[in-house]
Symmetry: C2
């Protein structure tokens, strides 16, 4: 009990970004008894949190003011940097000694830079990209790939306990969490493109895709992404569970990192081209299984249950 109380943040927990992930995590945090205040630039997201009984602030700065823990659930490095050091000045207004928990997937070098700048002001930075999707966010069952100082982990502990089923502690240096997350995204992005390429090719050959799904998920060609995304193709359902543009961003980061390191990554590069093609063809906000529609378009293939496409 003493440890648990000690690990409670002094001020409230500010959740910045109330999209599908942030909203779920804010809900889990409240469910665990934490004092949560949320903010999102979109009014609809703020209203969604308020309708759950959540306390909403009028700006990121107002939410973060005096907060012992700030959970940042924005989409990228630029937004994270703007929150911390832009007009909202989260780095300055959060409680001294407080912990900034950053979820956005980004280049580890950027993480190291942001963390060093924040920590110079006497706050802690936990590099904590998450995986698991909105459903697990809301049920408090995310997986977190985290790195940071013992103080950063201690400050974030109650929050991590509330939102995550599994926390990988990957070292004391911010950047390690991001590096592991990027390895995951490198693989996941390729696997989505591979699933779409192979399944569209199966359709081109006239194979029954439900049967393909059954056989492949029991065979050596299976992947987590194949198992998760191919049902969208079989059902012709491209409503976004995870959008094409997320991997335009994430495989873009992989290729930027690889280029900077003089590391050739041709398989990720080929997969990225297909995400770019899907986004360029107007499907950027559709489900990432839409890459199958690009392959279909480029090969005169008809996919199952295909509605008249915008593209």
């Amino acid at each position: 009990m003493a440890v648990e109380e000690q690990s409670r943040p002094a001020g409230p927990v500010a959740v910045l970004g109330l999209g599908s992930m942030g909203l779920g995590m804010a809900r889990s945090a409240r469910g665990a008894g934490l004092d949560v205040v949320g903010f999102d630039v979109a009014e609809a997201s703020r209203r969604a949190f308020a309708s759950q009984g959540g306390r909403v602030a009028e700006s990121a700065g107002a939410a973060a003011a005096g907060a012992g823990v700030v959970l940042s659930v924005v989409v990228n490095a630029a937004q994270t940097e703007a929150l911390l050091f832009g007009p909202d000045a989260v780095a300055e207004v959060m409680a001294p000694g407080g912990t900034f928990v950053s979820c956005a997937t980004m280049d580890p070098d950027v993480v190291r830079r942001l963390a060093a700048r924040l920590e110079a002001s006497g706050r802690h930075y936990l590099d904590a990209p998450m995986s698991g999707g909105p459903v697990r966010a809301a049920s408090g069952e995310l997986t977190v790939m985290a790195s940071g100082s013992p103080s950063a982990f201690a400050g974030a502990r109650a929050l991590l306990d509330a939102v995550a089923a599994k926390v990988y502690e990957l070292g004391e240096a911010p950047g390690a969490g991001a590096a592991f997350k990027m390895i995951n995204q490198h693989l996941a992005g390729i696997h989505i493109a591979a699933a779409c390429e192979a399944v569209a090719f199966a359709a081109r050959q006239g194979l029954d895709l439900a049967r393909v799904y059954e056989v492949i998920t029991a065979s050596a060609g299976n992947s987590w992404m194949f198992e998760n995304r191919v049902p969208h193709i079989v059902e012709g359902d491209y409503a976004p569970k995870s959008a094409v543009d997320i991997f335009v961003k994430d495989l873009g980061i992989v290729e930027d990192m690889a280029r900077a390191a003089k590391f050739p990554a041709p398989v990720a590069a080929a997969a990225l081209q297909m995400f770019l093609a899907a986004s360029g063809a107007g499907m950027g906000r559709d489900d990432d299984a839409s890459l199958a529609r690009v392959y279909a378009m480029l090969s005169g293939t008809r996919l199952p249950n295909q509605k008249e496409s915008a593209a």
Copy 2:
């Protein structure tokens, strides 16, 4: 019982090709009480089978003469065609009404051609590519992706029961089994290359690869191949469990099929280039996790437990 006896082939079962897969399957077939005669062009393989108490013939033709079932476990379409219609004339010497069970991974169009030619002579053709590796071959637990006429299935039934834990019956037309297998190989080949690319990049960043394995196998970036092959990289063990040149062949077939169908498959194409590079660099007969060594070579990265490489 009646059905089981009816499904027993009239003559012996000839197993042509006693490499790691064929030897295991011949062993499973003998274990199930079938009358097996084996042949391989390599004397060492014939001796291996004889040392298990197996009956060995002096040629493929001699093994197949009068056989009610011929199980072909050679490596490709050219060898299969040579067996059937070359000097050994398996198509002519096997028992009329007998069944030829073909395991090699090949282009479905080639399967259709070979099957039509064989069936014109009054024999049956079961298109039956297998997956599962040598260990499962020997324990009778392979997965078979099979298509063929009801007569072909009936003729092969006792043999399939002996070697496979799971038989997918994919239609009456030879070629469907091959098409499903090629979809599997398309995915599996990409996933091997992706695993090697991402893990070598993780090594380039100084991450602990055992930890990468632990985190990724519990995350959305996982694949059957990642889980199976990455331990070879972590242990620095490139003794061939499945050789680089197998996917040089199989992704080559995927790209040939895709080109013929005017189907762009850029992710498989990129993966194939890495298998070609590994083979070209002298690792064609090494384990296919050797692609990680190519990435390491091309980026000045040191992999764990790396022995002085031949390459």
